[in-house]
Symmetry: C2
Subunit: 457 residues, 2 copies
Amino acid sequence: MNNKEIPYKIYLDENELPKQWYNVRADMKNKPAPLINPATHQPCTIDELSHVFCTELAKQELDDTTPYIDIPQEILDFYKMYRPSPLVRAYCLEKALGTPAKIYYKFEGNNTSGSHKLNSAIAQAYYAKKQGLKGVTTETGAGQWGTALSMACAYLGLDCQVYMVKVSYEQKPFRREVMRTYGANVTPSPSMTTNVGRKINAEFPGTNGSLGCAISEAVEAATSQEGYRYVLGSVLSQVLLHQSVIGLESKAAMDKYGIKPDMIIGCAGGGSNLGGLISPFMGEKLRGEADYEFIAVEPASCPSLTRGTFGYDFCDTGAVCPLAKMYTLGSTFMPSPNHAGGLRYHGMSSVLSQLYHDGFMTARSVEQTSVFEAAEKFARTEGILPAPESSHAIKVAIDEALKCKETGEEKTILFGLTGTGYFDMYAYQKYNDGEMSDYIPTDEEIAKSVAKMPKVD
Amino acid sequence: MNNKEIPYKIYLDENELPKQWYNVRADMKNKPAPLINPATHQPCTIDELSHVFCTELAKQELDDTTPYIDIPQEILDFYKMYRPSPLVRAYCLEKALGTPAKIYYKFEGNNTSGSHKLNSAIAQAYYAKKQGLKGVTTETGAGQWGTALSMACAYLGLDCQVYMVKVSYEQKPFRREVMRTYGANVTPSPSMTTNVGRKINAEFPGTNGSLGCAISEAVEAATSQEGYRYVLGSVLSQVLLHQSVIGLESKAAMDKYGIKPDMIIGCAGGGSNLGGLISPFMGEKLRGEADYEFIAVEPASCPSLTRGTFGYDFCDTGAVCPLAKMYTLGSTFMPSPNHAGGLRYHGMSSVLSQLYHDGFMTARSVEQTSVFEAAEKFARTEGILPAPESSHAIKVAIDEALKCKETGEEKTILFGLTGTGYFDMYAYQKYNDGEMSDYIPTDEEIAKSVAKMPKVD
């Protein structure tokens, strides 16, 4: 098909939206290792998981054999409010780079949460509502996940309690106010409303909080209130399942125009966006039907895939959650304070970790100054101000397109543009003022936190 | 056609995008009165306007006879980056209200400027570039227009100098940083870089600035630099022309599904969004081909149509621009400091003023607390966090839908959702904290500023 016929933006019709999520685990020969109970070192049972998660979500978490799972009609209806998201041909960026490569991006930022997080938030809130729960609890750092969950809960009339890392609560008052506008109860963490919060406040007076601490408070709040469960925005296999809608839509839009990507690029923190984007393409690769190059892009300051260890580790810094087998820097690893964006998670989705371990995908780490350079170039040519997280994928997409310029190859590149940077202007300001710096952890630093990983046979 | 067949969002295909703007003045029997030179009280000539505006834009400003004007290909290409914008059926809002009314909104907020302003920004920047200029100057208050112009200039490689009202520059650092990311030079106004700025700083040390002052500085900067012109984001007839793309797309999308709106509602500050949305529908009404009810919604704290005077007045507080005949509160009118959103302009587009004067449209003023109530309801049901400006239209759309609930009428309501509120969270915070208040100016206050209007025969 002639390029000229490909529009700037491909929108699927509403009747072409995916009606099932795709569970890539079903096509994996080497399944991701099971979550294990830190006390018994035995695989977590559905009963154990159901104390923390909604029952249906606990089932999804453990299901590694069913390839397609129906999306309930109520979730489909919600998806229609902000989906399909556009698959964009980056004509302007291609022209600015002078590359023969064809660049596409799937843009997930056109909703008020500002990211793809809403795809899983509505699913998790829906199952909580269906189970007759009163509400859900969660933590949020940068605030995208908390916003998405607030929106989903407002829509369903579900109570939403968000523990927001104190430093973000104070430095990102606007994110906080968006959540409040959606009726969420936002508490700076560590708070005085939970045992773990009071304990941490007593031990470290004046602490700014951390994601690990906020997770611990949210889990305690869920398990100590009647009718509440805890929900999480990334890392878990259920989240990758819900996010498969990104890849399914991308593939349907590309198929419509006979486009086959040579490489698919996504940023990777906990893995929810990358896992969702690549899932259906990876399925084809796993089944031997097609081949694609998959590239996970992570920050050089938090390089779990490229420099981490593959083994069982805690999912949270507070060590209250199950152990997962994954590429990890150790749950006590803290990215340098100069790190601006998200993607600060110490580990990586078990699904993606296994696929990476088995050679089905590659990974690259990039430094943040170069990421913001790519973000600026993208904003000025494609019009969209990208989130710092998403800009990791932009950086590598531009690198690959420039390689094509040298070699003359007309590769087709697809990357995930997970969100917008409207609430990240502190970081942009640093970049605009020339005050952004890079940091790469030393081998010793990583070895130190890896050494603290739990010992599991 | 059965409602069930109407999707949540109607997107036109790229080949269905309007290729011409529609100039509603061509179909008006009573043309809007001409801009006049404040010194001579004679209609402004194209030569006079061309000192301040690009020549092509000066021509468009004076052209009240050509009904359709071709959109240059370069502008069409830029439009394709973020247009078509969706026409959304507000199924969720209808359900929440329990109304038999059918509510549609045209959503212009899915681009980084966060509003419809980009439609005219790219047009004005394009003509400046085509004329071989180095750059453009403008003022911005809340920052949507400045952001839009920065984006357009970055795309075309044009210098962009924005005078930002000092209080906004300091209180809205994020808006400022978005503009800087797009390469704009943002100066807090009043500055020490212009004569008028230095004069005002000397006269009022420590002043927070005003839009009137920023306009004066931007005009001086344009006329004192070789290769620069001044551009403006609303009020002017050229801006309404460019914004007609909103109405043309809305009408095309509705025609596709055989939908005919009974009433069309838009917020009105200077009139750019409302004028653009209603233009093609108003054309039909003016030509006697169809009838529609048009409602302009303005803040009770700045009620130019509902409580202003129809006469010649300065377009700017600084009184350096031509005089326009319009509904006005007097160019010295200042909305109460408790007014949160935009729509603070003292006057109204000459085109809309004439149409209102001739009875082709109606107007309503609403108080801001009720506007934020409507905004919250909309956000929680339709998912999109609306701009305070846009929420004026939401408020009246909800009021009308609730009237239908009482009467049982199945009216079809179309309103303009001009933008998102991501950079307006200070105002939302006030509302969330129950600290928002209303203010309605007294008749005496309005009479005082109206008395200062220039005397024109």
